[in-house]
């Protein structure tokens, strides 16, 4: 994937696109553009080779989360209208839309991480005007979901060796993955933050920040800005 068009974009452009997609996913009101965005991100996820375990986990999260989300929205609808028919109609649509938003955010994160190297991410958040701690926090936060998924897979394999059988309808069966995942991610975050300090990964680091954006970057940035304005208006 080194020759793909997205790898030629400036990391800042990729970040701007990522934020635009997040903004649109979070605030967009139309269902169809959201659906198209979801499909587009899914295609991109496959195209950049990031699908696989991440994707399967996404499907599970979607399947598991959707009924619960819709039920929650139906309950909210009933609380407001006290009419089951209206609550059902409103809850199904809004619940599905809400789930779609979450999936878009999740997919956008995976795509951004898989097309942007760790070093580029760190350099993006490392500028003279940004405190090192804030830059470190942001770069760690952006990488959190994909790193967690990789770690979840490793833990899943370990627990499989101990006879774990995951039952999607039994939340208790997920504990042997969720608890060690939480502990291990906390330890990892701690060690990584110490190492970022030790490695002096600080303002101005990395080649990405010294690279100048090209014509394609300006075009994409303009497009992203237009989408942001349209979404906000």
């Amino acid at each position: 994937m080194t020759g793909a068009w997205w790898t030629k974009l400036h990391p800042l452009t990729r970040l701007a696109l990522f934020l635009t997609v997040c903004l649109h996913a979070a605030l967009g009101r139309e269902f169809l553009p959201q659906l198209l965005l979801f499909v587009g991100l899914l295609v991109l996820l496959f195209a950049c080779g990031a699908a696989g375990f991440h994707y399967r986990l996404l499907i599970w999260a979607h399947v598991l989360g959707l009924p619960g989300t819709i039920l929650l929205f139906i309950a909210i609808g009933y609380e407001q209208t006290h009419l089951w028919s209206e609550a059902l109609a409103w809850g199904v649509v809004e619940g599905a839309r809400y789930a779609l938003r979450l999936e878009c955010l999740f997919l956008a994160n995976l795509v951004f991480i898989s097309i942007t190297s760790t070093r580029e991410i760190i350099s993006l958040f490392s500028h003279r005007w940004m405190p090192t701690a804030a830059g470190t926090l942001l770069s760690t936060a952006v990488r959190f979901v994909p790193l967690s998924l990789t770690e979840a897979r490793r833990i899943y394999d370990i627990q499989r060796c101990r006879g774990l059988r995951l039952r999607p309808w039994a939340p208790r069966s997920w504990l042997p993955i969720m608890v060690p995942l939480f502990v291990s991610q906390m330890c990892r975050a701690h060690d990584t933050s110490v190492m970022l300090v030790v490695r002096r990964i600080a303002p101005g680091a990395g080649a990405a920040s010294s690279r100048k954006p090209g014509v394609a970057d300006w075009f994409v940035l303009g497009l992203a800005l237009a989408i942001c304005i349209q979404t906000l208006l």
Binding site: S117, R119, I155, C161, R162, G163, P180, V194, R199, A202
Partner: protein, 461 residues
């Protein structure tokens, strides 16, 4: 100096008095939980960043009082787990990232070669970091740290994932660097046979206190392994003859269809055997264990276990990091997880669990919360939680990493007991002392092929 962790009464460091001169090569030793890492982080000026708690007394680093504020950037640090230390995409990029942080005039290309080549990283300079084995990642993390040109370097058990030759190489490189640049090295390590001839000074710790500080030659310690060699104890192998419990037949495997990690590997284990798989980093040891367990399927060849039960039940696999598997609210429940999942009757689950805990010396800790155990106890618990199942073949991946002599002795005892009861053990390790102590047979892997398979006689190559 002393250090009290937040939220506890216990002192992790107590009455520490130490003065280290520039250019010294200090080895810090002691059992698990004795405070080695806590002391090391203080000496590196990272206690404010890496530890939660209160430092008492006075800590002077480079002529500055750093007791309360620490001294970030004073020292380079290499942690035990290389996974958290690497931030670049490729090997070269990783080292370049460090070089970019350096100030002053230097020839970047020459420095890059100087950092990469001693560890053999020049040949893989364009390889993606994610595709490297743990051993190669550890080499890279040391090289990246040396590229920062620190005046002080702290290494916390850096040889845990390194093969014998690379561990020797690491000590040589550190000695050469200290000689050339006056680097002060603080090295936390369990393995004394390499440390003693290398260090100019040895600091031994126990329960947060320094119990020895002086020339390595003056330090008299019991051997690292408090166990008799395998030959003295003997195994059941001879009595049980060739009752085969596991057969690996012409197995080949490559990740995602890429270069073969294992190529035409054949191996069989008889009841009572303890087989050590040794070999350099990336030779395919862990992959072989994962294939035997059934976590991976071979591209070619087959793996057969004696008995009608599926391989997932017949083979037990113990992983290195206990924090990746502990989840239950008590030690007993953690240990009972496997036999319950194997649908054994409640009575049998209980008896197997109690027996497994007794085997590793944790029977009195059955009601404790697993997360409150020390690292050594957690490692023993992960072993017990595999022993409690009905497996006849036990696989262990680097069982000695991070364990002190007492814990190693217990693990060795458990393996011998399994062997004596007719089970078979397959362990992947770099630790030649442990191999000498427990293995009845040594299989050497190199580039995915078996290049040696001998009943243990004397030292391994």
């Amino acid at each position: 100096m002393g250090f009290q962790a937040a939220g506890t009464e216990a002192l992790l460091l107590e009455d520490i008095s130490l003065q280290i001169q520039a250019g010294e090569r200090v080895g810090i030793i002691g059992p698990s939980g004795s405070g080695k890492t806590t002391l090391g982080l203080h000496l590196a000026g990272l206690h404010r960043v890496a530890l939660l708690g209160h430092t008492s007394g006075r800590l002077w680093l480079n002529g500055r009082d750093c007791t309360q504020n620490g001294c970030e950037g004073f020292a380079g640090v290499v942690l035990q787990n290389p996974e958290v230390q690497l931030f670049g995409e490729t090997v070269e990029e990783e080292v370049s990232l460090s070089l970019q942080q350096r100030t002053g005039d230097f020839d970047r290309e020459r420095e890059l070669d100087r950092c990469l080549n001693p560890f053999g990283l020049g040949a893989v300079h364009d390889q993606r970091v994610a595709t490297l084995s743990l051993g190669w990642k550890q080499r890279l993390s040391v090289a990246s740290m040396l590229a920062l040109d620190p005046k002080v370097l702290l290494l916390d058990e850096p040889t845990s994932y390194l093969d014998e030759a690379t561990a020797d190489l690491l000590f040589d490189v550190l000695a050469a660097q200290a000689e050339r640049t006056g680097l002060t090295v603080l090295l936390i390590e369990h393995d004394l046979h390499r440390l003693v001839p290398w260090a100019s000074r040895l600091v031994a710790m126990r329960q947060g206190r320094i119990v020895f500080d002086g020339l390595p030659a003056a330090y008299s310690s019991p051997s690292r392994l408090f166990v008799e060699p395998a030959d003295a104890v003997g195994t059941k192998r001879s009595r049980r003859g060739e009752e085969r419990v596991l057969a690996i037949e012409r197995v080949s495997f490559g990740y995602n269809g890429c270069r073969a990690v294992l190529d035409d590997v054949s191996l069989s284990l008889a009841a009572g055997e303890i087989v050590a798989v040794v070999g350099p980093n990336g030779s395919g040891k862990s992959t072989l264990l994962n294939l035997v367990k059934g976590l991976l399927e071979p591209d070619d060849g087959r793996i057969i276990c004696a008995g009608p039960a599926p391989r997932m039940d017949t083979v037990g696999l113990v992983f290195q990091n206990p924090d990746s598997q502990l989840f239950a609210h008590s030690v007993f429940e953690e240990c009972a997880f496997l036999p319950r999942n194997q649908n054994l009757p409640t009575q049998e689950v209980s008896s197997r669990t109690r027996r497994a805990l007794a085997q590793v010396g944790l029977q009195s800790q059955a009601e404790r919360v697993p997360f409150s155990l020390s690292y050594g106890e957690k490692r023993r618990l992960t072993l017990a939680s595999t022993l409690s199942g009905r497996s006849t073949v036990l696989c262990l991946d680097e069982p000695t990493v991070g364990l002190d002599g007492d814990c190693l002795g217990q693990v060795a005892g458990v393996l011998r007991q399994i062997s004596a009861e007719g089970g078979a053990v397959l362990l992947a390790t770099h630790d030649s002392d442990f191999v000498k102590a427990v293995a009845s047979r040594v299989v050497t892997l190199r580039d995915g092929r078996i290049v040696g398979d001998t009943a243990r006689q004397g030292d391994i190559a």
